[in-house]
């Protein structure tokens, strides 16, 4: 696992007990994970960090975030992370602190990273309506059942998207359901391989 020169520079600062005593170091790690996973807007306003120079704080926060994201992306194990931080002259205790914090947040990080990216419109739900057509102004005595199906969809970018709606006869709906069941069966077979 490799970090950019800028990030390495930030970690070297983080490893320096004169710049970053123990408490501020722990506070910064917590703040870095929090800002990535829970509150993107959260500032570095932990009271333990108030004595650190803002420029240094900014640099170190960026370095920490970069390391967290890179480790998450590569699904790096503890030894890879440790090696990387050792190169930045961090002592064992500080490396362990980071790794512990990382382990705690690993799953949430993976979910976050996995959700980034483009994909086709994602179906989240379906609603349907059954109606019995009697007549229209163009045609009387039609007497047929008709389904209106609405697929609720989500866009990976913006979240919401107008739903996809269509009408179908009973035969067409049977065709659709048949095909969906084929897909489900194939999925089941694939997972058993």
């Amino acid at each position: 696992m490799e970090l950019s020169a800028y990030a390495q520079g930030g970690w070297r600062l983080l490893g320096d007990p004169r710049r970053f005593p123990r408490r501020p170091y722990a506070a910064l790690l917590r703040a870095a994970f929090r800002s990535l996973l829970h509150h993107p807007q959260s500032g570095l306003d932990d009271p333990d960090l108030k004595d650190i120079d803002p420029m240094v704080l900014k640099h170190c926060h960026a370095a920490a975030a970069t390391c967290i994201l890179e480790a998450g992306k590569q699904k790096a194990d503890i030894s890879a992370i440790s090696t990387c931080l050792e190169d930045c002259k961090l002592d064992k205790e500080r490396i362990e602190q980071f790794c512990t914090e990382y382990q705690k947040n690993k799953d949430a990080l993976e979910i976050l990273l996995g959700s980034i990216g483009r994909s086709p419109l994602h179906i989240t739900d379906v609603s349907w309506r059954l109606e019995y057509q009697i007549k229209s102004n163009q045609l009387h005595k039609t007497y047929q059942p008709s389904y209106l199906v609405t697929l609720n969809v989500e866009n990976s970018d913006s979240g919401s998207h107008p739903d996809v709606s269509f009408s179908c006869t009973m035969e067409q709906l049977q065709d659709l359901v048949g095909k969906l069941k084929d897909a489900a069966k194939s999925l089941e077979r694939a997972t058993q391989m």
Binding site: G72, K73, Q74, K75, E110, L113, G114, I116, G117, S119, P120, L121, H122, I123, T124, D125, V126, S127, W128, L130, Y132, I134, S136, N137, Q138, L139, H140, K141, T142, Y143, P145, Y147, L148, V149, L151, V153, V164, S165, F166, S167, C168, M170, Q172, L173, Q174, D175, L176, V177, K179, L180, K181, D182, A183, A184, S186, L187, A190, T191
Partner: protein, 173 residues
């Protein structure tokens, strides 16, 4: 149910026997056009209302045509009724309708932001017809949502077989 023809329509149709008997088109273009329009109205309205043979015969009786012409008109009606109704059904307001579904199983292995993934997904292409155009929409879903979709739509299909729906269908006819 009888078809009610206005005076104007009766007049239009009234010119039909003349055209037939003459064998040659020695009547004006306007007359022919009105005759055709009258005939169109007769057939379209009858098909739309789905009037019975007897009602049709009674409706055209007022035109005072010969028996032969009446029989011809009735046959014309019965022969073309289904097709006319099918064309008329296209005119009703409607939404895009289902045409076909293609599907594909995918497993996402990696992305720019996350390596070493195993993320199964079902990618589908939904083909819909809208006013003579065909549109295809690409959609995706995950395995659990797919099962949910199947369950919901099977419930939908089951509805027509319930007593409630059966009763309504029986009583509507």
């Amino acid at each position: 149910m009888l078809l009610v023809l206005s005076e104007e329509q009766k007049a239009h149709l009234g010119c039909l026997p003349r055209v037939g008997a003459a064998g040659k088109l020695n009547v004006g273009v306007d007359t022919i056009q009105r005759g055709v329009e009258g005939l169109t109205y007769l057939l379209t309205e009858s098909s739309k209302l789905m009037i019975s043979e007897i009602d049709f015969q009674d409706s055209i009786h007022v035109l005072g045509f010969s028996d032969e012409l009446n029989k011809l008109l009735l046959q014309l009606y019965l022969d073309n009724r289904k097709e006319i109704r099918s064309i008329l059904s296209e005119l009703a307001p409607k939404l895009p309708s289902y045409h076909n579904l293609e599907w594909r199983l995918d497993v996402q292995l990696a992305s720019r932001s996350l390596r070493q993934q195993i993320k199964p997904a079902v990618t589908m292409k939904l083909h819909l017809n809208q006013n003579e155009d065909q549109i295809a929409q690409v959609l995706q879903t995950d395995p659990s949502t797919l099962l949910h979709l199947i369950q919901q739509l099977e419930q939908a299909l089951g509805e027509m077989k319930t007593n409630h729906c059966r009763r309504i269908v029986r009583n509507m006819k």
